[in-house]
Every structure is written in structure tokens, then in C-alpha cells.
Amino acid sequence: MSEVIKKTLRYAASFFLIVTLNFAFPRLMPGDPVKNLIGEDVYVSETVMEELRAEMGLNMPLYNQFTAYIGDLLRFDLGYSYHLHSPVAEVLRERIGWTILFVGVSVLLGTVLGTLLGAYSGWKPETKANRLVCYGFIALSCTPPYFLALLFLEIFAFKLGLFPFKGFYDIPTPENIMYHMFLPVTVMTLFSASRNFLIMRGSVIQEKGQLYALYARAKGLYDTAILFRHVMKNASLPIITLLALDVGFLFSGALFTEIVFSLNGMGTLIYDAIIGKDYPVLQGSFLVIALAVLLANMLADLLYAVADPRVRRPA
């Protein structure tokens, strides 16, 4: 029970840290906080700046500012983007759906592909083909995601002309969206699969030496049945936690892929915000991504407790 409390405390602390970081960035970073809060490239006169300063409460003590900030958060008020002339929450809501679709589909595919292949590769004896696949996945995992995206874009969209190279859709029908998403999803799937593959492979290699695997064979299970019925379940336990920690990384990978394929999701939003120094959008994006990762981790913890009987041992 104390473990649960400890975990909850840690999540609460993480949440608090994320929120505080977000609060502190514009106020502690070099430069005028007003500029930091509205974005650098917005040109406003001195008087408007002072008005804004008062309006945002930047003259108040930090404590009051913080409570006001928390209040804003609770009302889903993430500030106002002067570049896009709309509230940040609004902008994010528009973009995040696409990114979640994109990340969700590719992570799902990548996880399935990566874990299955990884398990199989770890289970089967070492052959040339096996080793080759293994090195292939190591190479993939060592490639910066956007470089992979660039290569795919170049080869399949520009050179071969098989796929479009821009945007989520021309006309919003499912077929068209799938056609547009194919390349970016492939890139992200490979990226996510490469990480899962390596983890799963190592995990299975470790597990296959365990006695229960031998015992399963002694019970009369076929080779692959041992892998899928006995070894996989044990080997995927560590994957759950690692996968959750990887969500942040995959999310970032997705951002880069979006930029390369000019998909109108969070990635391009962040890219434009960096170029335009649109700080409110950056902060909002960070907050949303960080909270998503936090949620993923909590989910993983819950899942782990369900999947591993050792955790829920009765007293």
C-alpha cells in the first residue's frame, strides 16, 4: 500500500514540477517577462506593454501570480497567441487531434511490429538473417527521426512519386488521409519499432534461459508456442514501463516527422512557434505533451499492476 502512496506522491510532484516549470520559464528567463509571455516578435508600443504587464499581473508578487496562473490553467486558459491571434488552448485543440492520431497509429503499429519481431529474433537461434535484421534495427534507432523522414520523402515522394509529400489530406476522405499519412506513419512506425525491437529482443534473450521456458518445453509445448504463451508475457513486463518512458521520445520524433512532411499537427505548430518566437504556444505545447507523457506513465503503472501477479500479492 505504501508503494501506491509513494507512486501517487511522485506523480503529484511531477505534475507540480511541470506546471511550475511552465510558470517559471517566461518569468525567470533572460528578457522582459512581458515579451517572454506574448512572444518576442510581436511589436507593441511601450504603453501597450505596460498595460499588458498590469493585465497579466506581472507587477504582483510571485505567489499571487502563481495562484492566478493555476486558476487560469483550471479554466484551460493557456494564454493568447499574438501571432495566430487566437487563444493557445484553441490552437492546440485544433492541432493535437491530428498529432494524437498520427502518434497513436504509428506507436501502435510500431509496438506490435517491434515486439513481435524482437521476440522472434531473440527466440530463434542466431542466423545471418537474424543478425542482419538486428543490425538494421540498431541502425534505425540510431538515425535521427527527421533524417529518416527526409530520406523517405526524397525516395518515395520525390523520386518515385508514389506518395504525396505534403499535408494530411487534399480532400478530407478517409482514403485520402490514409494515402497522405502512409509515409509519415511508416517512418514513425519504423522508429518506434526499432526501439521496441531492441528492448524486446534483449528481454526475450534473458527470459528464454529461464527454467520455466524449459519446463514449458518439457510439458510438450511447441517451440513457438513456448515463446508466445510463456516467454512473451514475462518478457513484455519490462516493456510496459520502458514504453511509457519512451512516449515522450516518440512524441518528439513525431514532431520532427510532422515538420518534414508538412503535416499540420503539433510539430509544425512548434516549429512555427520557434521561428516566430511565439512563446505562449511553445509553453502550452510543452504543458500538453508533458501531461500526456505523465498520463501514459500512470497508465503503464496500472497496467503493470494488473499484468504482474508479483505486484498484487495478497498480504
Binding site: 509513494k6 506522491l9 511522485r10 506523480y11 510532484a13 511531477s14 514540477l17 511541470i18 516549470l21 520559464f25 528567463m29 533572460p30 528578457g31 537461434p125 542466431e126 545471418k128 543478425r131 538486428c134 540498431i138 541502425a139 534507432s141 540510431c142 538515425t143 535521427p144 527521426p145 527527421y146 533524417f147 527526409l150 530520406l151 526524397e154 520525390f158 531492441l198 529482443r201 534483449g202 534473458q206 518512458l245 512516449v247 515522450g248 521520445f249 512524441f251 518528439s252 514532431l255 520532427f256 515538420i259 518534414v260 512548434i270 516549429y271 520557434i274 521561428i275 518566437k277 512563446y279 511553445l282 509553453q283 505545447s285 510543452f286 505533451i289 508533458a290 507523457v293 505523465l294 506513465n297
Partner: protein, 305 residues
Amino acid sequence: MMQEEAYIRERPRKWKDFLAHNLNLDIRKYKRNLKKLNRGGLFLFTFFLILALFPSLFAPYSPTERFIPYEAPSTAHLLGTNDIGNDILSELVYGARISLMVGFASASISTLIGLMIGLFSGYFRGTPDELLMGFTDVVLIIPKIPLIIILGAFLHPSIWILILVLGLLSWESIARVVRSKTLQIRETGYVKSARCMGFSSFHIMVSDIFPNLIHVLLPKFMLATASAMISEASLSFLGLGDISMKSWGIMLSFAFSRGGFIRDMWWWYLPPGICITLCVMFIALMGFGFEGREKENGKRGVDSE
């Protein structure tokens, strides 16, 4: 005894066995093939290292020297020139230094922080351990790249800030590993006897525990270097790198944003990307190799008990 002998016997083959232990591949049968690959990998990494240390020996021109822009590869410029007329090959050679430096420097910072936190919490246990590991878990959850992006956007980073930020944000996994290893080591006979003899905690940590952590730290350091290099390249791609220090990531980013990609100048964007990938891969492979060795040693240790 047995272990010592095995160790001595293995010692001369150390370098050859790098990949042999990599990822726990059951390689015995294929050792010969792997040795080839392994030597190749190490050779290439050394090559990158030499490039980084003595770029002037290999680069045909200075990276800032200007020629006609957007030139295709020729005998004068093996990889052509970029948008402002710099020789791309020279840029690539000089970029090795910066990319590797970012990687190694930030990995050093994170290894150092991870080592200290892990060592403290593993050695003192109890409340400091709870607090430090709690803190580590809390930090671990915060997604790194978005955080670095936002920091980068506010700070307009020079390469030093970039190194510092990357180093400060990636020590958690090192701290965890060091902690668990320290917990093991502190229960061993020599540490206990050192404690009984009244040596100070600091002395024990430095002279008894630290030397035994090197095996764990080395692979982690390598992997941290690899991931820092990828992070640097990614940030550069977003325009958050240090433009005055042209790393491979910056080259790639310029090739993308300044027309190399649209004009189909593969000799501009392909080489830096391939260099990053290969270099990161070799470093990671070396890291995996050390990790595999560590596991193997660990297993043997258990068996001999």
C-alpha cells in the same frame, strides 16, 4: 581464482570481443564474421575520432572559405558547395569535432551528475535514497526534447548552453543504475571491512566503490553520448543549435531549410545525416558491447559463488 584466470585469458581479446558481447547475441559460431564487422566498426569510430581531433589534415579547405555556391561535386569540391559557397566536405570534417564534442561533453556532465546522485543514494540509503530517487523518478517523467526545445527557444543557445542543458537533463537512468550497483557493492566484504576500519564514507565511496562502478558507467556514458548527439542534431534541425559552430545537425538543417533538399542536392544533405547515423551507431554499439560484457561478468560472478 577461476575468474581471475578467465579474465587474464580474455584480456588480450578485449577489443575483438566488443561486438561479440553486444546485445547478448549468441555469436560463438559466428565469431569470425563478427570480428570482421567489429574491427570495421571500431576502425570507423577511430576514424571519426581522428577527423574530430585533426580536421585540418583531412579537410581540403577551411570550412569558412567561400567558393561559388550550389556547386555539384567535382574534383575540386568532392561533395560540392553549399548555399554560401563553403566546401561541404570540409564542413563535414570540421563538423565531426563539434558533433562529437557536444555528445561527449554533455554525456560527461550527465554521467557525473548521475554518478554522484546514484552513489549518494545507494551508499547512504534510507531517507536520502528515498528523496533522491523520488526526485529522479519525478524528473524522469518530464519529456526531455520538448523541455529542451522550450529552453532553447528562450535562451537562444550557444553551443555551451546546449551542452549544459543536454547534460543536465539526461542523468536519471545513469543515477538509477549507479544506485543499484552501489547497493550491491556496499554489501561486499571489502566495503564492510573498510567501514569497520573506520574509513570515512567519502574515502570508501571514492576508493572502494567508484572503481567498481566504472564497468557500469562506461556503457551508460557511451549510450548517453549517442543520445546526446541525436538530440543535438534534432535541436539543430529546429534551428535551436549554435549557428556559429557548424555541427552535422546544423549542416543537415541548413540543407533542408536553405534549398539543398528542394534542389535535390543529395551530396549536401545525405553525408551529414549518414555521418550522424553511423557515428551514433558505432558509439551505441560500443556501449552495448560494454553492457554485454558487464552482464556476462555479472553472471559469471553469480555462478562462481
